[in-house]
Every structure is written in C-alpha cells, then in structure tokens.
C-alpha cells in the first residue's frame, strides 16, 4: 500500500492508495476525490458542521461493495471532532463531525465518497434546521418530471409564505429544502406538514405525484418522500460526490436554471459533474447558503 504524508492546518495526515481508481469507468482516483473535496471544502463545510456524519465507504471503488459506518472509526486521529448521540433504547454512539478541512480529507482517505448527514445538528437532535421534500422518480420517470413537480411545489410553498431551495440529488432526483433555522418545531411538525403537502400534491397531480412509499405507485410518477423529515434519517449533503459511473455532485440550482432545463427538456443540465461543480461554486458562491441561515416559521401548525 502506498502512503503519502501531508500536512493540513498543521496536522499530519497519512494518505493511502492515492492512485487507486475509485471511479474506474470514468477514471477518477482517490487523489482526484481528495482534490475535489479540498476545493469544494469552503462550500461544503458549513453544511456538514455539527451534523452526525454517516460514512458510506467504497474501499474498492464505486462499482464495488460499499458499507455504511455510523460510528466514528476508533482508529481516528485524536483531533477529529466527535459527538455522542443516542440511538434507540438509549444506546450511545460516537459519531464523527466534519467541522474542518483536515477531517474532511481524513474521511475521504477512508474512501467515504458519499457524505450523508441528518437534518438536525448534534446539539439539538430533535429540531430540524430545515424541512425537506425528497423527490424520487419511479423507474419510468425522469429528472425532468421531478423538475416539474419541484416547480409546482415551489409555487405552492411560496403561497404559504415559505421560500424553498432546490438541489440535484446527484442521481435521478431533486431535493427541495425549506429552511427553518429556529428551535420552535420538531420532526413531528415537519413530517406532518410535508406529508399534508405531499398528499395534496398527489390529489391534484395524480399523474405526476405519489405520496406513497410502495414502488408500485411510483413507476412513471415522482414519489414525494416526506418521511425523510425524521431524526433518524439522513440526506446526501449538498456538494457531496455520488457513487455512480461518473463523479456527479449533489449540487444546488437556481430556480431559473431548473425552469430552463424543464422548458428545454434538457436533463443533462441537471447532472453536475465534479469540475463543473467546483468552477460554478467558485464563481457564484454557495447558492444554498440561505438553507443554513434563513429563518422561517411553518404556518398553520
């Protein structure tokens, strides 16, 4: 195993197998992954901060087996920040917090290509910082159908006085985020609210939307997964790479971009690859910043 010792922010890290091709169909090595995360760090770190990380590790590359790791590996360096969280039945568990560049690089050295985080921070695990609508297309639906649904949802939420933000899932779906950023509401509330929204969407657009989990209802429809609004669930972090043939990123979009893609029937625009992600983010800044700061109240609850 080849090793290379680097120093980041005064901390020494031993990186292994940098030449290993983790996206073999595309040609993207661990060194490329580290470079992507190094350049995107200033954008992704605020979205990871103080959230219990779930590692999704692909030691043999994205086309081979992966495993989830919720516990922070015990062989971690002493400076990796951790938190104690309680699982069901009061069991305690130590999780990693990616609050700085060196931890981000250390985690990527573990081939944890995808970074999944909950909607709440470790200090207040029962109060979500945002409500999400995870738009998940069935086998016969495309991301463009998702785009249609997302645009209707945006309008509906906006009439309720709520501003929403959208990002690509990095796969076939889209994620809508409604920032809350106050401690007044629990997951019970966001779940109830998002479920009511999903159900009314299903009723009014039965050919586009389903609010039911079962695969048989999805098919050509988009499943509005309201059940993601749960303290036990995680979402792929904004700016995280996805494990698929190409290094595609879960990337924030301006609503205008989504409208254009929908109008031009161009699904390619909704697949943002690593290099494009870095260039766009450096040019326009973090489009999803408001998700972390904008304070909104859920009406009628």
């Amino acid at each position: 195993m080849s090793r290379k010792v680097v120093e980041i922010a005064g901390r020494r890290l031993s990186l292994s197998n940098l030449e290993k091709d983790l996206y073999p169909s595309y040609g993207f090595t661990k060194a490329h992954i580290l470079e992507y995360y190094r350049r995107i760090a200033m954008f992704i770190l605020p979205h990871l901060e103080d959230r219990a990380l779930t590692l999704k590790r692909y030691p043999e590359g994205v086309e081979k087996d992966f495993f989830f790791e919720k516990r922070c590996p015990s062989h971690r360096p002493g400076w990796v920040k951790t938190a104690e969280v309680s699982r069901d039945y009061g069991e305690r568990m130590t999780v990693c917090l990616i609050n700085d560049l060196e931890t981000l690089i250390w985690v990527q050295n573990l081939a944890s290509v995808e970074l999944h985080v909950p909607l709440a921070r470790v200090g207040s695990p029962e109060t979500p910082d945002f409500m999400v609508f995870d738009l998940d297309p069935g086998d016969q639906a495309t991301i463009l159908v998702c785009a249609q649904v997302a645009l209707i949802l945006r309008d509906l939420l906006s009439r309720l006085g709520l501003t929403s933000y959208v990002k690509t899932s990095g796969k076939k779906g889209l994620h809508l985020y409604v920032p809350l950023n106050h401690k007044g509401k629990t997951f019970e509330d966001t779940k109830q609210f998002s479920r009511a929204v999903a159900v009314i969407m299903e009723k009014n657009y039965p050919d586009l939307v389903t609010a039911k989990m079962a695969k048989k209802y999805r098919k050509a429809n988009v499943f509005i997964n309201w059940a993601q609004n749960d303290s036990k669930k995680t979402m792929i972090c904004i700016y995280s790479l996805r494990a698929r043939e190409k290094p595609i990123v879960s990337f924030p979009l301006a609503w205008k971009e989504l409208e254009n893609a929908a109008r031009q029937d161009d699904s390619e625009k909704l697949q943002v690859i690593h290099s494009e992600a870095v260039i766009t983010a450096e040019k326009q800044g973090d489009l999803s910043r408001e998700v972390l700061v904008k304070k909104q109240k859920l009406p009628y609850l």
């Binding site: 309008d155 609210f193 009406p299 009628y300």
Partner: protein, 281 residues
Amino acid sequence: MGNSRSDIDTGEVLFKQGNKMAVQGIWSGTISFSLVAIPVQLVKAVEPGRVSFRMLHSKDYSPLARRMFCPEEDAIVHPDEIIRGYEIRPGKYILITNEELESVSPQRSRTIEIVEFINMNEVDSIYYDHPYYLVPTKGGEKAYRLLVEVMRRTNKAGLAKFVLGEREYLVAVKSMGGALALMTLHYSEEILPDEDISPRGGEIEAEEKSRIKKIIKKMMADFSPEKYADERRKKIMDLLKKKAKEKVPVEAPQVEEEEGEGPADLIAALKESMRKVKMKR
C-alpha cells in the same frame, strides 16, 4: 384505519375471550444460573377481565381523545409544552427531563439471572405482584423440563432481578403446573406497615375458639375458582350480546385518512394555495 367494521358486525371479535387469544411473547431471552442457560419467552399468565368502553362524541359517534388541560389558562396544552415535575410540597416541584429519567432507567435485561434459590413457602402472598409464564424456545426444552421438575419436587423458587418495560423487578421463577412461572414481587419498601392493623389485648376464650373452628370445618371445600365468576362482567357481556343482535352498531364518521394528516387550517390553506397555483399554470 385497518379497523374493519364487518368484524364487529359478526360479534365474534367483540366478544372474543381473552384466553382464546394467541400466546404472544412479551420478552425473550435466557434464564441462567451457574452454568445453566435456558432460552425462554415470557408470556402473560392472566388477562384482567375488565370490560372497557371507548368514549364517543354523542352527536356523531367520533371516538374521543384525551388531552392535557391547563385550568389556569382554560386551554388545552400542546404536547411540546408539557414537562414533568415531582411535587415535593403542595405547589412546589422539582423539574425532571426525559433525558434525566432515561439516564437512570435500567438497561433492558437479556437474561433472567437467578442469584439465589429460596423456599417458595417463605414468600408471603402479599409480595406477589403479577404472574407470567416462561415458555421454552428452541433448544431449551430439555433443560426447562429438568428445572420445572426439580423445583416442583423441592418447592423452591429462583430469585432474580429483571427489567421489563422501564422498571427493574424482583422476580421469583417457580414451577407451576408443569411449566415455569415468573412472578414479579413487590419490593419490601412497597409493603405497608401492618403494626396498627391487628387489634391488641384481651384473652381469647378457648370455647369461642373451638366454636369458630367448627364453623370453618363445616364450610371447608376444595379451592375451585371456576365456581365463581365476575358477575358484573358477565351481565355486561350478556347485555352487549343482546344489544348487538337487536341493533345495528353506530358508526364513527369515515375520516378520510389523507385529509386527517394535518391540522384543518393547514389543509384549508393548502387547498386554497393549490387552487391558485393551478389557475396560474
């Protein structure tokens, strides 16, 4: 939701006896002592025969829910605003959080670890709390039968600490009709003092004593509890059966499940907004 009305119409479900229900495990784990470990399941031994009623709204038969009420504000209190307090003096409370309670709650037991054996006849029935059966699970049958037999012959019981639900119980494992029973016992501090109960003083005359003895002897019988029944329960069940035959049961209004998934205000606002969104498109 899965509340099929037709079940009730036949009357069978409504009048099902507790003892006909399938045995369902409350807990599974092992009994252990010394080098013995027997895999078992804990099941109920009794089903209280209370007839329970749902409270309904008289005008449309909707089942009613309980809410916490604040007499000070004359208003229903949202669950988010409810916390726990321990009353140390009237009107004075010590607050306690769920986390604090959880931190002192015992870990769920995986074994019933017998720490000592006792003579069951030394345990006064006042200590008996609630009975359960232990049923052997795969691989445990032989050791189970052995323990049942030995404890039966010697009238011994094993004492153990055991966590069920959120409480830690003192339990006695004993032989009962060819099976193992588990009896949760009261802790000694739960037993109220009896000093003031029995009246003192005065010799009892031998003649009086023998008279009472004779009466008791005349009234002696074998204990056969099946001779007795909860008369009120029986009458209520008979009444219900009669009424079920005569009358069609009233029905709660069919709530459309989906509409019920949010507060009325939210649903109304969503409908209105949706109408406008559709108009614009």
